[in-house]
Symmetry: C2
Subunit: 137 residues, 2 copies
DNA sequence: CAGCATCCCTCCGGATACTG
DNA sequence: CAGTATCCGGAGGGATGCTG
């Protein structure tokens, strides 16, 4: 299946206007990047770590209703993409500190715009939603 | 300060405020908004419609490997949140045109920062990813 | 042309229990 | 303290067929 090639081509066409003519996309970056920061807890943890480094247990207390499984998994995903650095101190008992990398800080700077917009326009979105649902009947 | 710290605290405070008993995290504005633009096809369709209005079939040809089901559903979701306007022309056969609303354009302006970042730093993210996977074994 | 309906399957994410 | 391991329900999303 040549879906990837086709998709790549459409991506190029679609983003030509905003990316400029020199845009040489090696892959489909938007989905690839956005999918990994749009999880249920990702933006929240990124916001926390952008404030200051935190240890595992601190994050757990800071976000009480995240399951331990999802906290581990989300942190690993963020680390895998290079946004988060993981420091292990072989003390007894061991402690692990998480912090944003330069790449993470750079990315969060872009994400901030969207978070800011979301906070300011949340009411408008919710209004549109209820209006749409009402019109459905 | 530069407003950045304030912004981050705001987000954490929003979370803390509703982290009480019986709190529904679906009310978190950031997640509530971001979740609905972070689907598999959402950013792609938004980018397309930000270019110019399109009809249903045009979008289908523009993004060949989206299933018809997902195209319909994604457009409805975007319309529900007030980002997309749906114009029906009762011609024969009927035609439907989709376009961005003012709210949609406003939101896409914020989203663009993230998309641009993704395009520019996609290689760095992929490098980090392969490095992480290699270190695992 | 622009959808809706149906089947089906993957995988996200919560709950719970165990370990170095 | 900072994780792994396992089970499982439900939402997300693809393929196909039918309609006004």
């Amino acid at each position: 299946m040549d879906g990837r090639i086709v998709e790549l081509k459409t991506k190029l066409e679609i983003y030509r206007a905003m990316a400029g003519p020199g845009a040489n996309l090696a892959d489909c970056p938007i989905r690839d990047v956005i999918c990994n920061i749009s999880g249920k807890w990702n933006s929240l943890l990124l916001a926390a770590l952008a404030e200051k480094p935190y240890r595992f247990g601190e994050l757990r207390r800071l976000v009480p209703d995240i399951s331990q499984r999802m906290l581990t998994q989300t942190l690993r995903d963020l680390q895998r993409d290079g946004y988060v650095h993981r420091d292990v101190f072989p003390t007894k008992p061991p402690s692990v500190e998480y912090s944003l990398t330069d790449l993470g800080r750079s990315m969060f700077e872009a994400l901030r715009h969207l978070m800011q917009w979301a906070e300011r326009n949340h009411a408008a979105v919710r209004d549109a939603r209820t209006r749409f649902d009402a019109a459905a009947f």
